[in-house]
């Protein structure tokens, strides 16, 4: 497998990609392993609103719970939600985008209309309604995010496909006897994969943000910690404007969200550069 070796060779030399990969790995490791060692913050203690110190690295909230522990448990939720949302939107969006871009006629128009309809729907209010109806489990939140974020992935895939469809190498593939599904899911998809990968990381990033918004609005899962839940509680207790200000309470989850989104973005952009043999130089 020389091709894969080539990809890795270029990837490890891509500085942004490595920063993104390390960041993502750390978050994944914390999300997966952290909760094994750190007990789930629950109930209340007497150590309320303590600033970061040796015992509570990132301080405590108004119930005396450790912020670091909350963030660790929140990382797990954010990972779960964003990966599930990305998979769902990928499974729906990529094939629909390919079909919409490659075929001509009614199928293409139906998918196009569907994308348009979903894109014009006001996403957040609709998610609030759906979340309210379906109940606020963390899996439901991921499902809703996936179902509502496939259209942008489908559109990106479609736009790339439209361009690639007209390339002589696709005509050549036809002339050499390749079947339509093979052309579509191998030759077209491989060429479209750069922008599609980047967009998938964007879907992950926006899933974390939207999950935080939903939690912040009180539509998250009340039984699990997420970065949005922490923010919501901080906001609910006026932590952002009160004085003296317990800055660690709202700043730390915000930083986590920013770092997570940035790392996935760096990773996605680097994948885009390294998957395209021409972009490696």
């Amino acid at each position: 497998m020389k091709e894969r070796k080539g990809f890795l060779y270029y990837f490890v030399r891509n500085r942004n990609g490595m920063i993104g990969l390390i960041g993502v790995s750390i978050i994944v490791a914390i999300g997966l392993i952290g909760p094994i060692f750190i007990p789930k913050p629950d109930g209340y203690t007497a150590d309320i609103l303590i600033a970061p110190c040796a015992q509570h690295w990132l301080g405590t909230d108004n119930l005396g719970l450790d912020i670091f522990a909350e963030l660790v448990w929140g990382a797990r939720t954010s990972l779960y939600v964003s990966i599930l949302a990305m998979l769902i939107s990928g499974v729906i969006g990529i094939p629909l985008g390919l079909l919409c871009g490659y075929t001509r006629g009614w199928l293409s128009e139906v998918i196009d209309a569907l994308i348009d309809i979903f894109m014009t729907l006001p996403m957040l209010p609709l998610m609030i309604i759906v979340a309210a109806i379906m109940g606020t489990s963390i899996t439901n939140v991921a499902l809703i995010l996936g179902i509502f974020s496939w259209p942008q992935l489908a559109r990106v895939t479609k736009n790339s496909t439209l361009k690639i469809r007209e390339m002589p190498y696709i005509e050549a593939a036809n002339c050499l006897g390749l079947s339509k599904p093979r052309i579509l899911f191998k030759h077209v998809l491989l060429n479209a994969s750069g922008p599609v990968f980047v967009d998938m990381t964007l879907v992950m990033a926006s899933a974390v943000l939207t999950e935080a918004s939903l939690s912040f609005l009180g539509l998250g899962d009340p039984t699990t910690w997420s970065w949005g839940t922490i923010l919501k509680r901080a906001w609910g207790q006026n932590a952002v404007i009160s004085s003296p200000n317990p800055w660690w309470w709202w700043l730390m989850p915000s930083l986590c969200i920013v770092v997570y989104v940035v790392c996935f973005n760096l990773l996605g952009t680097a994948l885009n550069d390294c998957l395209n043999p021409k972009g490696r130089e």
Binding site: K2, E3, R104, M167, P168, Y169, E171, A172, A173, N174, C175, L176, G177, L178, S179, H187, L190, N191, S193, L275, N276, P277, K278
Partner: protein
């Protein structure tokens, strides 16, 4: 000698939005014999590419077949199923293109791309065997250091090298017919000569060749038979010698006179005035009438008859030629 491909009274046209059909290819008749090369010559817009796409059964959506038959080794391709066609494409019938720069998939190595075609038509082949045959095919088309080249991507190849890769891909399954659509147009003159050399060598080694070109020089280099097309009609066809030594149709004569030679005198090169009409502007008579210096009222109104003027020479024109016999009206 076996006939590889035969067009019999084949006609096709384009449908507009109202469903009206505009004829382009009008009753094409010609054959490609085993081991021979046929040149299909004409200006842009004469239907040369539609001829090859008809053979591949890859016509655009708006195109519609109006009649006739296309045989490949005795089998009517127009009646073949899509699955049968997929099996024929890349295997018995293959094609190389004008644009070597964009005719290879940029994200796959050339080994993967050539190998895929082999694997597709020989699913039982093992990876080692495929790699060995792909390497051999690269050697066959004159690519140096194939062991390194096989794992490289198209952008690491020059235009001429890519065209060689295209040829390697097209011949890996030993096709009965290789269609070359303007195979050298996008290449440097020196590279053109090398590519022609490869094609000539391959023709000797394997099947037949159909060269689609507007370059009469290429035809003279590698073809034995010539079909001159104008606006969808095969207005003159015959052996290379017959056509080049005694072109009869005013269009063919115009084409021949337009070639610069080393001995050209100091006078302007001959040109044919006007341009090829589009499919929507064809008149009822000879489609070349508007540009022909011998045009008569009859030419404008009635389709000229096909005349046999020699053993291997046919021409479709109202002019009178020595020894002509009307083949059919």
């Amino acid at each position: 000698m076996a006939t590889i491909v035969e067009f019999k009274n084949y006609s096709m046209g384009f449908k507009d939005d109202d469903g009206q059909v505009f004829n382009l290819l009008d009753r094409l008749n010609f054959k490609v014999e085993e081991g021979k090369a046929l040149g299909v010559v004409g200006e842009s817009g004469c239907g040369k590419s539609m001829t090859s796409l008809s053979l591949m059964r890859l016509l655009p959506d708006a195109a519609t077949v109006q009649g006739g038959e296309i045989f490949l080794e005795g089998k009517d391709l127009l009646k073949a199923s899509e699955a049968e066609m997929r099996d024929i494409r890349g295997n018995k019938l293959t094609m190389i293109f004008q644009e070597p720069m964009t005719a290879l998939n940029p994200v796959l190595t050339i080994g993967q791309q050539i190998g895929e075609i082999l694997q597709l038509h020989h699913p039982e082949m093992k990876p080692d065997e495929i790699r060995r045959l792909v390497l051999q095919s690269l050697v066959d088309v004159g690519i140096a250091a194939p062991e390194t080249r096989i794992d490289q991507y198209p952008h690491e190849f020059s235009g001429g090298m890519r065209q060689r890769v295209m040829i390697a891909m097209a011949i890996i399954n030993h096709p009965a017919l290789l269609i070359a659509d303007e195979p050298t147009t996008a290449l440097d003159v020196t590279i053109q000569a090398q590519i022609l050399d490869i094609m000539r060598r391959l023709k000797k080694a394997s099947g037949s060749l159909m060269v689609i070109t507007h370059n009469l020089g290429i035809v003279a280099e590698i073809c034995e038979e010539v079909v001159v097309m104008y606006a969808g009609r095969a207005i003159e066809r015959g052996t290379l010698k017959a056509i080049f030594d005694g072109p009869l149709h005013p269009y063919t004569r115009g084409l021949m006179a337009s070639i610069p030679t080393m001995r050209s005198e100091k006078k302007p090169l001959h040109t044919i005035p006007g341009s090829v009409p589009t499919v929507y502007d064809f008149g009822p008579g000879c489609r070349f009438a508007a540009r022909c210096e011998h045009c008569t009222e009859q030419c404008r109104l009635t389709v000229p008859p096909l005349k046999r003027v020699g053993k291997d020479h046919l021409v479709q024109c109202w002019l009178t030629f020595e020894g002509e016999v009307i083949e059919h009206a």
